[in-house]
Assembly symmetry: C2
Homo-oligomer: 199 residues x 2
């Protein structure tokens, strides 16, 4: 479980998409949310869009690996799909915030890699948020406040990468993913392989 | 402290030398040893060659970060140089065996990355040992026994890389080194940087 978190506007979505495209082995964990789709977002790909009662039922039935409320909307990760995938050796990419990361880490510590992206400066972050042009000033101010609050949780992550240049940042995130796959504890078959070497 | 261990003949020395050349930031930790120099080995570069009483005095005076006896010869890492370097932000590469790794890890846990290289097969390993042509059959048999014993400690390492192809293996080891440098706990300046972002 490879977690990518960052304040909104720090390039996380771009990095995540490119990782999915170029890595070929990692799959996106699709979150369930009660918020309205933004223009261009596809149900079942970007998010699974559900209403509040459905979300609440999933939480009550213990179907969520983690969930959080952000600006009155709920976001969560459905458990069944991830657990089955992990068992079959599938890697998953999570685009979740610090609350979700904390919950996931507490539940599945050994199998989680937590990466936090930071903007090069607060001006760069605000610039990127404004360039989206999809939200009002009030929404942007709220999002800046939330960005600062998200940044304050940087120390709950294993790796920190500053996104000064999108290509470099992507390269660094990919390096982390590739290195973490070489961890002894994540490699299957080593017990038999080393036994063969010592025969 | 980046530790590279492997059974003798698995390509560790080649990988270590290339890492020193191409990385440019990591320095070799030069071990002290009581064994005789092999042809081409340079005192103070490959090893610091000392006699047994000198080695024993260094151990007695607590000057060793780790030390071990292999085939009647002693090998150790002098403490002062490493400690001063680490404090100044210097990364060190250690070419040591499982005993040294265990001692180093117990003493400096958070700052150690342990990488173990495995040969693709036991025949490949024996082939490489024979190709050196510097040792008798008895020495090679002893070294094969020691290789098996070294391999048995693969599970005391953070990362395991099979050296099937020297270029690929080098790339993997370099990936691990680069990723580990991005660990939050190893990056200096993040406290101030994030404070600046939240101002």
């Amino acid at each position: 479980m490879f977690i990518l978190s960052s304040p909104s506007g720090a390039g996380k979505t771009t990095i995540a998409r490119r990782l999915l495209d170029e890595d070929g082995k990692i799959a996106m964990s699709v979150s369930v949310t009660t918020r309205q789709p933004r223009p261009g977002e596809v149900d079942g790909k970007d998010y699974q869009f559900v209403d509040q009662p459905t979300f609440q039922r999933m939480v009550d039935d213990g179907e969520m690996l983690e969930w959080a409320e952000v600006f009155g909307n709920n976001y969560g990760t459905p458990k069944a799909h991830i657990k089955a995938g992990l068992k079959a050796g599938q890697d998953f990419l999570f685009d979740i915030d610090w609350q979700g990361t904390q919950q996931l880490y507490q539940r599945m510590e050994t199998d989680v890699v937590r990466v936090f992206l930071l903007p090069p400066s607060i001006d760069a972050l605000e610039g990127r948020l404004r360039n989206r042009n999809t939200d009002s000033d009030t929404v942007i101010d709220g999002r800046m406040a939330r960005a600062r609050s998200e940044i304050s949780h940087w120390d709950g992550y294993d790796f920190v990468v500053v996104n000064d240049n999108i290509d470099e940042c992507f390269g660094k995130v990919k390096t982390i993913l590739e290195a973490e796959r070489m961890r002894r504890a994540r490699q299957t078959g080593l017990v038999d392989f080393t036994r063969g070497l010592m025969r």
